[in-house]
């Protein structure tokens, strides 16, 4: 590869991820501090309840499974490689992940259709929503393409992508892992960082505020305006 290509790769895979990640953290924290009110899933189920299920549920469950797959491959590459050492297990894994990705694709298409078709839902659809949907669809389509034509992702990801991602995490980006990969793979990586970069500007922030304490808290929530301990303390003293 010539040097200009390498430089290009350096910028795309060595610099751009940090720009995206910095934007992600800086804007998210700032938005949470200053504009906490804007953190919402902005559900539109209230405006259209008939086709909502058919887009929302496959999209979310598909995407959660696929993202979990990516995370496992990054954190436990050896585990995945060992699993894949038996061909049947590899096929089962690949087929399952493809099914989930297909599910999220069907879901996102249903959601776009819903947003276009129902005038009430269109009223609560912003430009940012369309930008986000564009990049999401792009990402899912490339992912599906790779699963079909750049086989088998679960076998080459641990060898190529995992070390690259770790090099990013260790602040010494090594783009050589990625330079030789096919164009579609590169696009998928770039688009992933684009999504991370635009994340804090969109409704995606609802992912960060998913309820986590709900399962463990008591049913009822009571808030006191007076500081009861302080008042009780005063009473004891007097």
């Amino acid at each position: 590869m010539d040097s200009s290509g390498l430089l290009f790769d350096q910028i795309l895979f060595g610099v751009f991820p940090y720009v995206a990640l910095f934007t992600f953290f800086f804007v998210t924290i700032q938005r949470y501090r200053v504009q906490k009110f804007t953190f919402s899933s902005l559900s539109s189920q209230f405006l259209e309840n008939k086709t909502h299920f058919w887009g929302m549920v496959p999209f979310h469950y598909g995407l959660i499974a696929v993202l979990t797959g990516h995370t496992v491959m990054m954190l436990f590459p050896k585990l995945v490689l060992n699993w894949n050492s038996v061909p049947v297990r590899l096929y089962v894994l690949e087929a399952t992940m493809f099914a989930f990705a297909a599910l999220s694709f069907i879901g996102v298409i249903a959601l776009i259709r819903r947003r276009l078709k129902h005038s009430k839902v269109r009223m609560v659809t912003s430009k940012a929503d369309w930008v986000l949907l564009f990049f999401l669809v792009l990402q899912i389509v490339i992912g599906l393409y790779m699963a079909l034509f750049n086989r088998w992702g679960s076998s080459w990801f641990p060898g190529a992508m995992t070390p690259y991602l770790w090099s990013l995490a260790e602040f010494s980006p090594n783009v050589s892992y990625i330079s030789a990969l096919p164009l579609m793979v590169k696009l998928h990586v770039i688009n992933a960082f684009v999504l991370i970069g635009i994340f804090p500007f969109t409704r995606l922030v609802h992912v960060l505020v998913v309820p986590n304490h709900f399962l463990f808290r008591r049913h009822q929530v009571v808030r006191w305006y007076k500081n009861r301990k302080l008042i009780a303390g005063e009473r004891d003293r007097s």
Binding site: S40, S41, S119, V221, I231
Partner: protein, 496 residues
């Protein structure tokens, strides 16, 4: 005993004339913003009727409130495990179709329409999309039994009535209805609070008002499905839930909530109740038959020395205890047992109580002459146009006894006053009726006073909210006085 204070309410349905002044007062103050056009934190329904949102009492459809399963209390709509699975799509959430699509009119057309043979009309425009629309329903579409008979006949409270009773309800010259004004019940065991995954909904410790923390609400929408009274609403524009706030800014400054203050029939009473918070879960688990009595037993006597001592122990101020002693709600609910909670079988322990309405007076016919006095004083209650079972389904968790008790007492008081002022009933008869209705003469006078001659101060006993004490915990009140109001507020805007 864990004594807490609660601002509680009583609505005297026998006095409600269905004028909707309360609804308008509320709407003008709180819900005239974008995304809230369809909301009526206060609404007045005609009963029998399907209400707003349509069929809100049908919990097979909306899965509101609590249910008992294996002796344990759980939310009907979203058990904790299910909420995670259903977070992307809430299967029991009502949509705008269940309420109505808010609209305005294209008034410009009245002025700008080209000259022609027809009168120009103001065409309805959707307040959501801005497009022309056909109005299909509204917030009080079945007001005064209007609309097709389908509305009144589909009232879920009619389910236990016989076919004959149902037919009588809508028969000519038998037809009957009454009004049922509703706001948030500010329950002791609120299902909305329990269902919120974000913990955005909360009950205020000092006065029990249930609120939504707008900055913590993430539009998971569980509260809308969980509230069996459908009194939490979704603001489709901001993506946040909103609900009746009992006009807390007014209460904190000693004023009655707008709907209370504007009530033309003076049907609304507001006052403090002291209750035992340790017993919430135990009472909410009682059987349907025991719920009303159990709920009443949680409410503590504010004149009892032990209760006063326990209240002070919990930091409840002298002024609030005094307000509880003068509370009209305490009289109606606990002393006179005239006011009953709506649909307590939903097990949220509502803190809004209704005095059940008397039906149109029924006289017996003998030899073609109307006869209004019989030895069976209360015959007309059992044979009244509104079947007792219907009221029992609304206010008695399916039991007619508590409703009958309240109606008998109301009638006895009426007849006692009739003996005093009109004189066509002898005092002897009146006293017999009072005795049969478990009511003394003094009690009858007190009920009469608070029902008919009540002043603003009798109806609304609002305690000081002692916010200065709340402030002291965090800031010097004098400094607060200088600084309050200076700061930056980000408006309630949708998304970024």
């Amino acid at each position: 005993m864990n004594v807490r204070s609660q601002i509680a309410m009583t609505f005297h349905l026998d006095k409600c004339i269905g004028c909707h002044t309360c609804s308008i007062a509320c709407k003008n103050i709180w819900t005239d913003r974008k995304g809230t056009e369809y909301m009526w934190w206060n609404n007045v329904e005609t009963k029998p009727g399907t209400g707003y949102p349509a069929l809100w009492e049908d919990q097979d459809k909306f899965k509101g409130g609590w249910e008992k399963s294996k002796g344990k209390l759980r939310l009907k709509s979203t058990g904790k495990g299910r909420i995670v699975a259903n977070i992307f799509h809430n299967p029991s959430q009502p949509s705008m179709d269940d309420y109505y699509e808010p609209w305005t009119y294209d008034y410009q057309n009245l002025f700008n329409a080209p000259e022609g043979d027809d009168q120009p009309t103001a065409v309805p425009i959707s307040m959501v999309t801005g497009e022309y629309m056909d109005i299909e329903s509204g917030p009080n579409w079945d007001d005064d039994l209007s609309g097709t008979p389908a509305y009144a006949r589909n009232d879920p409270n009619l389910s236990t009535l016989t076919d004959q009773q149902r037919q009588q309800l809508t028969a000519i010259e038998q037809m009957v209805f009454f009004y049922f004004p509703r706001i948030c019940n500010h329950c002791l065991n609120p299902a909305c609070v329990a269902s919120c995954p974000s913990g955005a909904l909360y009950k205020r410790g000092e006065d029990g008002i249930v609120l939504v923390d707008q900055k913590r609400c993430r539009a998971w929408r569980s509260c809308i499905a969980a509230c069996p009274y459908k009194k939490v609403f979704y603001n489709w524009s901001t993506g946040k839930s909103e609900k009746c706030i009992l006009c807390y800014p007014r209460i904190e400054t000693g004023q009655a909530p707008a709907c209370f203050h504007s009530c033309v029939g003076r049907i609304r009473y507001l006052g403090v109740l002291l209750y035992d918070a340790d017993r919430i879960e135990e009472v909410a688990r009682l059987s349907d038959e025991a719920l009303i009595e159990g709920h009443r037993s949680m409410i503590l006597d504010p004149n009892d020395e032990k209760v006063i001592a326990a209240a002070k122990e919990n930091g409840i101020q002298e002024s609030i205890i005094k307000a509880a002693q003068e509370s009209p709600v305490y009289q109606f609910v606990k002393v006179w047992k005239l006011a009953l909670p709506p649909h307590i079988e939903y097990r949220t322990l509502p803190m809004l109580f209704y005095v059940p309405p008397m039906s149109p007076v029924m006289a017996t016919r003998k030899n073609g002459a109307l006869k209004s006095v019989t030895d069976d004083f209360f015959h007309d209650i059992e044979e009244s146009r509104v079947p007792l079972e219907f009221l029992g389904n609304l206010f008695g968790a399916g039991q007619t006894a508590p409703v009958l008790y309240a109606l008998k007492k109301q009638k006895a008081v009426r007849w006692y006053r009739r003996a005093v002022t009109v004189g066509d009933v002898t005092m002897e008869t009146a006293k017999k009726m009072l005795a049969a209705a478990d009511c003394s003469v003094e009690e009858a006078e007190a009920i009469y006073q608070l029902t008919s001659l009540c002043t603003v101060d009798d109806r609304f006993v609002i305690p000081p909210s002692h916010r200065e004490e709340a402030l002291e915990a965090f800031q010097d009140p004098m400094q607060r006085k200088q600084e309050a109001g200076f700061g930056f507020i980000s408006g309630p805007h949708r998304g970024l």
